[in-house]
């Protein structure tokens, strides 16, 4: 197993702190809100309002469980369309009340099932991408574990994208990559190394702006070690983003995503 696959293993560990644990550690007064007002409440996405050192904020994240019971409730952190629509509803609410949005991302990907397709998984993700690119309030996204494809991106069209040392973000899983492109699942290590999916790689590609270190004894044993760094980063960043004129904020967000691509002409 190479270094990248070791990181993937850490990111997927069932003990790894989940979104709610990060929220309780970083914010005060968190009130969870439920439902997309259209169909249902998706346990895979949690969200609500909270207090960050006196500043009202909206927090949204993809929730995983630590055991089977918890994972059944949150669908193993794989959101359905109603989850993405709940997230969008809360983001529009944040826009109305001029609260910054902070998202926590930790998912293998959007759920692939019959119901998800019937209720428009593609449409739900697409809508989030478009609406977030133009949301008139600051957005910060933090990758705390897995970041699987469009299902992760649907909460990550942000002004700042941060990642934990053992976080990841990729177009598909290394297992999927090896079996689809090479028809050889055993080449997963090679795929992982090639895919440049770790925090450091993503920083080089300007996908990630900031990396938070994890304690040697494991994040699950000392979450505070990392959340203190996140708090410092939020303290340094939120004020500036909040005081920036909205047009400038949106222009910068547009430019951030506009630059991705390598081509010749």
């Amino acid at each position: 197993m190479n270094d990248t696959m070791k990181k993937v293993g850490v990111a997927r560990k069932i003990e790894r702190p989940n979104t709610k644990e990060f929220i309780y550690e970083i914010f005060e007064d968190f009130l969870e809100f439920h439902g997309d007002r259209l169909y249902a409440d998706d346990g895979a996405i949690v969200g609500g309002i909270a207090n960050f050192e006196g500043m009202p904020v909206t927090v949204i994240g993809i929730q995983k469980g630590h055991d089977l019971d918890e994972n059944v409730k949150c669908n193993f952190g794989q959101p359905n369309p109603e989850g993405y629509r709940k997230a969008l509803r809360l983001m529009k609410q944040a826009e109305k009340f001029k609260r910054p949005v902070i998202t926590f991302i930790n998912t293998a990907g959007a759920y692939c099932g019959i119901g998800a397709e019937e209720r428009g998984q593609g449409e739900a993700i697409a809508r989030n991408l478009m609406e977030m690119s133009n949301l008139r309030t600051p957005i910060i996204s933090i990758f705390i574990g897995e970041g699987g494809s469009g299902g992760a991106l649907a909460l990550a069209v942000a002004d700042n994208v941060w990642m934990l040392e053992n976080g990841m973000f990729s177009v598909l899983s290394p297992e999927g990559f090896a079996s689809i492109l090479w028809r050889d699942p055993s080449r997963v290590d090679e795929a992982a190394a090639l895919m440049k999916m770790t925090a450091k790689d993503l920083m080089k590609d300007h996908v990630v702006d900031r990396i938070f270190y994890e304690p040697q004894e494991g994040l699950e044993n000392n979450l505070n070690f990392t959340t203190e760094q996140i708090k410092t980063a939020l303290r340094e960043t939120l004020g500036g983003l909040k005081s920036m004129p909205t047009e400038e904020l949106l222009e910068k967000r547009y430019t951030r995503f506009r630059q991705y691509g390598e081509f010749s002409e």
């Binding site: 099932g113 649907a154 390598e262 010749s264």
Partner: protein, 287 residues
């Protein structure tokens, strides 16, 4: 020339023996003179190629065969009105994927175009519009840097020129060989579409077979008006992936255009022969 590549990627009946026998039969039976006869993959009838018109429909069952951007332009735009943007844009290799250059060269040879989308400006029924037409013959219409950039530029051009944009989608999704940069194209194009939308301009998508993955989960589903060709496969997740997740048989007609309309994600299913007329009405009513 393989104009009539298969409409669907995989058989859902899992009947491998039957497929093997089919292959065997093909080898032993006298071969049909190349190019004169083709087999429709929908009705399985052998059809005389000369009966297939420029609309590329099966004369026997009406199935809509996949078509190239040049063929699409010929039946959609007013004659001689189309002028292409960024025709020479080519991909680099952002992920240093081994052999990517070769893969691209082969795709160019196979499809006769430089990348999986053609963009430009033209007239439909006398109305000016910007167009983007994807091509499934080029690496299954997958979206990498070039597809993302060409479509983004076309949308930005439409915003600046205060023109509508019509995108004909067909894609297997993000181009995995370009890694995370291909995923970011979803956000890039969606942001450009968002700005066009903010300006109160018209965006129409025409979903053609197949439209899946990252293209469905970005600009395909963002049209003010979403049209689809009959029986086109439209979805987010691939059918094999869904089957592997849920371990049950998928319902008949799952993820087809008719399924999407029934579930509220497509405005209208339009026969290819009527598409130009309907697009003309839409452009007229928004002009």
């Amino acid at each position: 020339m393989n104009l009539f590549g298969k409409r669907s990627y995989f058989s859902l009946d899992g009947n491998e023996d039957k497929k093997k026998n089919d292959r065997k039969r093909k080898r032993t039976e006298p071969s049909i003179p190349d190019g004169m006869w083709i087999k429709c993959n929908t009705c399985k009838n052998i059809i005389y190629k000369k009966e297939v018109t420029e609309y590329k429909l099966c004369p026997s069952c009406g199935a809509h065969f996949r078509m190239s951007p040049a063929e699409r332009i010929a039946i959609t735009c007013d004659e001689g009105s189309f002028s292409e943007f960024d025709a020479d844009m080519s991909p680099k290799n952002p992920m240093r994927y081994p052999g990517y250059g070769e893969v691209i060269d082969n795709a160019k040879k196979k499809s006769g175009i430089n990348e999986a989308v053609v963009t430009g400006r033209g007239k439909i029924g006398g109305y000016d519009t910007v167009l983007a037409i994807m091509d499934s013959h080029f690496m299954m219409g997958s979206m990498g840097s070039v597809v993302g950039e060409k479509i983004t530029r076309a949308v930005e051009y439409a915003t600046k020129s205060r023109l509508p944009i019509i995108i004909f989608t067909t894609s297997g999704g993000a181009r995995m060989q370009e890694g995370i940069i291909s995923l970011m194209q979803m956000a890039k194009v969606s942001a450009a579409v968002g700005r066009h939308n903010e300006e109160g301009l018209l965006y129409v998508t025409v979903l053609t077979d197949p439209t899946t993955g990252g293209v469905t989960a970005s600009y395909a589903m963002l049209g003010d008006i979403i049209l689809s060709e009959p029986k086109a496969l439209i979805g987010f997740a691939g059918q094999r992936v869904i089957q592997a997740t849920i371990h049950q048989k998928l319902p008949e007609g799952f993820q087809r255009a008719e399924f999407q309309m029934e579930h509220g994600f497509v405005d209208r299913i339009v026969n290819r022969e009527d598409l130009k007329d309907e697009l003309t009405i839409i452009l007229k009513l928004h002009s």
